[in-house]
């Protein structure tokens, strides 16, 4: 299998605070990976570095062998942990924007998902609840046929019913040629869809493993192992 994401000695500091410290990581194509860790462990920092929203202090991060740039942006679909869409835009206008800029964006897929979640494409984002905005952003991100998806806290703000739909969407969109990296601390909810996990704490990788290994060798669920590793 080929490596889609690779970090070599990746370090990011903010002033005197170290967010990521000498990360070495390889993630292969064709799996769903949980990037798991407590708040402030460096999950978002890692994802933002992969999207070139942050500049590494040392080391590098490669996507399909390339440094983040215009070519990697074409194959990476990213859901940030915050709402970033212009308030004044209507949903269908944002879909047009995505269609314009991303060649792999499938508008019919987006409209389909909007319908399933009862979101009106003519609504302005300004009038939407926080949860609905998050759903719209996730729909946009999942309507691309990207090679690498970064979902930063994708289910944090939505209700359980929508949570199920979203997870179903992630699985059904995912294919052999794509990798999905999901960052979250709500492990129990996503445990069943994960192929492998990366535990991250205080800017360092604590553990990388497949979910099967955890279950078979340690006889634990990912959730249990997480609680054990990150015991306060």
């Amino acid at each position: 299998m080929s490596v889609i994401l690779e970090c070599n000695g990746l370090t990011k500091t903010f002033g005197s605070k170290t967010a990521l410290s000498d990360i070495n990581l390889k993630i292969e194509l064709g799996q769903i990976v949980g990037l798991l860790g407590p708040n402030g462990s460096g999950k978002s920092t890692l994802i933002k570095l992969a999207n070139k929203l942050l500049t590494p202090t040392r080391g590098n991060i490669l996507i399909g062998g390339q440094e983040p740039g215009i070519e990697t942006k074409k194959i990476v679909s990213y859901l940030p942990e915050r709402t970033y869409l212009n308030d004044w835009m209507r949903v269908h206008q944002i879909i047009e924007l995505f269609t314009d800029f991303y060649q792999d964006f499938k508008p019919e897929k987006a409209y389909d998902m909007l319908k399933n979640l009862n979101i009106n494409a003519d609504d302005r984002l300004k009038t939407m609840s926080k949860g609905t905005k998050e759903k719209v952003q996730l729909i946009l991100v999942m309507s691309r046929e990207a090679e690498l998806y970064f979902l930063d806290e994708p289910i944090g703000g939505v209700d359980p019913a929508a949570r199920d739909y979203i997870l179903k969407t992630i699985i059904s969109n995912y294919n052999e040629k794509a990798t999905v990296i999901i960052s979250t601390h709500l492990i129990a909810d996503i445990e069943n869809i994960l192929d492998s996990v990366v535990f991250i704490n205080q800017g360092q990788i604590v553990l990388t493993s497949t979910v099967d290994e955890i279950r078979d060798e340690k006889g634990k669920s990912v959730d249990d192992l997480f609680r054990e590793v990150f015991k306060c």
Partner: protein, 266 residues
């Protein structure tokens, strides 16, 4: 990709400017209408309408400035940057799109303001008078400048656009430099603006002295003397344009470097 960025930039800013333009033209018209209906003297409705007109005029020019800053800061250096910087677009295209649309609205605002003044104040026969007084002026310019007229006009136009662009790029570069700081980025941007502006003026002061252009031979006394000096003036203008280009390039390069190599969104 640049054309798509321009399209979205126009959409995002047009929704602010078009209503302002319409309001300005409408109030110019309303004021005119009230004045026509009423007597010749200045009565209260006209005064109020004129006040609103003036207010919109000020708001329009303030908005061109505010939008110039806000679109760059919010869209590229704050939350909306999460979308803009993950689009498969090169950073220089973002800068150019923002710059061109800012310049566009500043120019259009000027034109709309001019039209509104015409609506407000133009009397029957004014146009003829204006043409009648401009024509001899143009003729005199042609006499004085001769064949240089067209070249000078073109250079003036290019010069004004470049000056406008360098002003905007100076502000962009300042915000980009402010972005290098972890805290108090707004304050840092303001400081960067003062610093960058001062440095630019010093550099300009030095550069302007470098070329060996022949000095003016005193104030021209008549058309012939003036014409003789035109080539010298011409050299100064060209050098001025070259300096504007240089400053635009420096500000652009600073902004481009920071956006592509030193971006750190919060």
């Amino acid at each position: 990709m640049l054309s798509k960025l321009l399209k979205y930039e126009i959409k995002a800013t047009g929704r602010v400017f078009l209503p302002l333009f319409l309001a300005l033209l409408a109030f110019a018209g309303i004021t005119r209408l009230i004045a026509l209906i009423g007597q010749q003297q200045w009565d209260t409705p006209v005064a109020i309408s004129l006040l609103i007109y003036g207010f919109i005029m000020v708001a329009m020019f303030v908005m061109t400035f505010v939008t110039m800053i806000q679109r760059f800061y919010r869209n590229l250096l704050a939350d909306e940057g999460y979308l803009m910087h993950t689009l498969p677009v090169k950073p220089w295209q973002h800068i150019v799109a923002k710059l061109l649309i800012s310049m566009f609205w500043i120019v259009v605002s000027g034109i709309v303001a001019f039209i509104s003044i015409l609506i407000l104040a133009l009397e029957r026969g004014d146009l003829r008078d204006i043409v009648a007084s401009v024509a001899p002026f143009l003729r005199r310019v042609l006499d004085q400048f001769g064949n240089w007229t067209y070249l000078f006009s073109l250079e003036m136009l290019i010069g004004s656009f470049l000056t406008l662009a360098s002003g905007i790029l100076l502000i962009y570069a300042s915000m980009a430099i402010g972005h290098l700081f972890r805290k108090h980025r707004m304050l840092a941007s303001f400081g960067a603006f003062i610093g960058l502006n001062t440095l630019s003026q010093i550099l300009f002061g030095i550069l302007i002295k470098i070329p060996k252009i022949a000095p003016f031979a005193g104030m021209p006394m008549n058309a012939d003397e003036f014409q003789a000096q035109l080539p010298i003036i011409q050299e100064y203008v060209i050098y001025g344009i070259a300096l504007s280009v240089l400053f635009c390039t420096i500000y652009f390069a600073v902004t481009q470097y920071i956006l592509s190599k030193r971006l750190n969104l919060e």
